[in-house]
């Protein structure tokens, strides 16, 4: 089955800093989602991005399916950005989450 690795596993930032999170996957995919898991455990859908680049406020995402990776950019980070970020590549009905990046943003 597909292997999904995310990097870095942990990231500590000061408020205002920018960051790039990476998701690598081992097989070809038809689509990909990025999620933010907040401190209450909820999975918040950030992007549905099969290819190209999308932006939503301070967040943007890029997927290069042919090279089997996706990037999530967070600019001007805020304390409310803290939590775990997961990617979820779509290629079969057995959808495997990435290993996650735990982000902590301090004031």
């Amino acid at each position: 089955g597909i292997q999904v690795e995310q990097s870095p596993p942990d990231l500590i930032l000061q408020e205002g800093a920018n960051s790039t999170l990476r998701c690598n996957f081992s097989d070809s995919v038809n689509n990909l989602q990025w999620f933010h898991q907040n401190p209450w455990g909820q999975l918040i859908n950030l992007f549905y991005i099969p290819s190209g680049t999308k932006q939503n406020g301070r967040l943007s995402a890029t997927t290069v399916a042919t090279e089997r990776y996706s990037l999530l950019y967070i600019s001007s980070s805020q304390t409310t950005d803290s939590g775990v970020y997961f990617c979820l590549p779509h290629n079969t009905d057995k959808l495997i989450f990435g290993t996650g990046t735990r982000l902590q943003v301090f004031p």
């Binding site: 455990g41 999975l43 779509h90 057995k94 959808l95 996650g100």
Partner: protein, 115 residues
Amino acid sequence: EPEVTQTPSHQVTQMGQEVILRCVPISNHLYFYWYRQILGQKVEFLVSFYNNEISEKSEIFDDQFSVERPDGSNFTLKIRSTKLEDSAMYFCASSEIWGGGNTIYFGEGSWLTVV
């Protein structure tokens, strides 16, 4: 935005008891999923379900687990004879069409504690 709803939000059960976790997927969705997340760990795939049968399942989804769509709106996960290691957050999800072609929406989770 459409919502997947899960009940209960939190359940405490004794080891060996049976538990049923309930989910109401988005109304026009056809694909349903259950995932598990042990505290502090990654989100793990359990099972996908389409057209009243299991489409895919992971090695975690053994004979202890079963899924059912008892009526036109609910999708349930049953855990027979719970063990301490079943303590986790369980997420239900649904999508309109096959997961590879559409956004998958997740519920807020059911936190199961086995004591």
